[in-house]
């Protein structure tokens, strides 16, 4: 469904706006903005955020078209377009830029998934945030890791010390996101109610830049009223 998002939007544009080229361009730019935002959010947030299915699908499908275009045009030496060399340089540069963003986004997520595996597996909410591929990766990685630990040393330990998610004794073995991690934010939408940080009340002004703990603005990050920077 998500793969056809462009088409659906284009159809819709055709009906209401005959000049739909412009709108598709706008959509492309919005997607770039969004990808950059979710990339930085993911980099700076202590928790794992929701995977951006539709956005990533849209960009990947355009990316595939572009790769096809490059292949077609670099084989065809008799190409009549005199600018084709420069165009290919531009297209390949952009491809590299988009690839970089996508890779960094996915790798950031993987590093969090690795670190927080046990925690994520205990929470339905967090499992929902993974993409299908990420879930498969996490399960396989966890399985191999447990097996490795068992073979290396766990099976020689007393049985009550063998678990990896021991919460007894007041200290949990499960690594949680550091909810109070200080983060830099920029407020992008008007926020009416003031927020409580510790025992202080803070009003978030639009376009303001603040440094405060993540837990205080978590919900605003989720609905993108503030972005992390």
């Amino acid at each position: 469904m998500a793969t056809n998002f462009d088409d659906i939007l284009a159809d819709f544009d055709n009906q209401v706006n005959p000049n739909n080229r412009l709108t598709l361009t706008k959509l492309k730019r919005q997607d770039l903005q969004l990808l950059q935002t979710v990339w930085i959010n993911e980099r700076m947030a202590p928790e794992l955020l929701t995977y951006e299915h539709e956005l990533i699908e849209r960009i990947l499908s355009r990316l595939r078209d572009q790769v096809e275009f490059i292949e077609l045009n670099s084989i065809d030496i008799q190409n009549t377009d005199k600018d084709i060399k420069l165009k290919l340089v531009v297209i390949e540069s952009e491809l590299g830029r988009v690839n970089f963003l996508l890779r960094s986004y996915l790798r950031t997520r993987l590093s969090k998934i690795d670190r927080l595996t046990v925690f994520i597996r205990t929470s339905d909410e967090f499992i929902q945030r993974l993409s299908e591929e990420e879930t498969i990766y996490m399960e396989n990685h966890f399985k191999s890791l447990v097996q490795l630990y068992n073979n290396l040393f766990l099976n020689t330990m007393p049985e009550q010390l063998q678990s990896l998610d021991d919460e007894s004794g007041g200290i949990s073995m499960i690594e949680q996101p550091d909810w109070n991690k200080p983060v830099f934010i920029r407020v992008v939408n008007d926020i009416k109610e003031s927020i409580i940080v510790g025992d202080e009340e803070v009003e978030l002004e639009k376009e303001g830049i603040y440094l405060l703990r993540y837990s205080a603005v978590k919900n605003f990050v989720h609905n993108r009223d503030v972005v992390l920077i």
Partner: protein, 202 residues
């Protein structure tokens, strides 16, 4: 493993520059070219000597091939920078409203399009340097106000934030933890006091 450790704390300067290169800039093409469809943008048809807005990374490719000149932003000249410096000096408690990527953008200009600047690059460079140092002093002074709850830093650029991030995040995190310990202890004391009161009542 999937993400190098130093990238977990902050964005690298290269990554900040990368973000700046995504932003739009006005160019004056010396070359005509048909429109170009990209993944994250469409570049309209270029016409020689017609100003047009394009992403900065694209402008830099054309510039390297001497196919365009880049129009400097309206603050990157001697007069404006002097004004910004003045307001930086008079308004000691806030940062002047330079764009959020002024440092990155001016660096890119000095390295790739110095000949498109309207004033002598060396002079602009030293002005930028002065501004940077002045603002850094302000940042450091502002940091003395740091507490466990929050800090407002309007108009600070991403590069400037990145410079202080590792230190500030660490300190504020520690303060938050200390505060929590203190609050918990006070709560416990109160509970104990109440217990004692109860004893007296009996």
């Amino acid at each position: 493993m999937s993400l190098p450790n130093d990238l977990k704390i902050t964005l690298s300067p290269q990554e900040v520059e990368f973000l700046t290169e995504s932003e739009m800039i006005t160019i004056l093409p010396r070359y005509s070219m048909n429109k170009l469809e990209l993944i994250t943008d469409d570049i309209p048809k270029l016409m020689a000597m017609h100003r047009i807005q394009v992403p900065l990374w694209y402008a830099l490719i054309l510039k390297q091939q001497r196919k365009c000149s880049i129009v400097p932003p309206n603050w990157l000249n001697h007069k404006s920078l002097k004004e910004f410096f003045q307001s930086e000096v008079t308004e000691l408690n806030q940062f002047s409203k330079l764009p959020h990527n002024w440092l990155e953008l001016s660096k890119i200009f000095f390295e790739n399009a110095a000949d498109d600047l309207s004033d002598e690059p060396a002079k602009l460079k030293s002005l930028i340097q002065d501004l940077k140092e002045l603002r850094l002093i302000k940042v450091k002074k502002g940091l003395s106000l740091i507490n466990e709850s929050h800090l407002q830093l309007d108009n600070l650029s991403i590069l400037e934030i990145n410079e202080i991030r590792p230190f500030v995040v660490e300190v504020m995190g520690k303060l938050t933890k200390l505060k929590q310990v203190i609050t918990n202890e006070i709560d416990e004391d109160r509970l104990e006091d109440r217990d004692n009161d109860d004893d007296l009542m009996e």
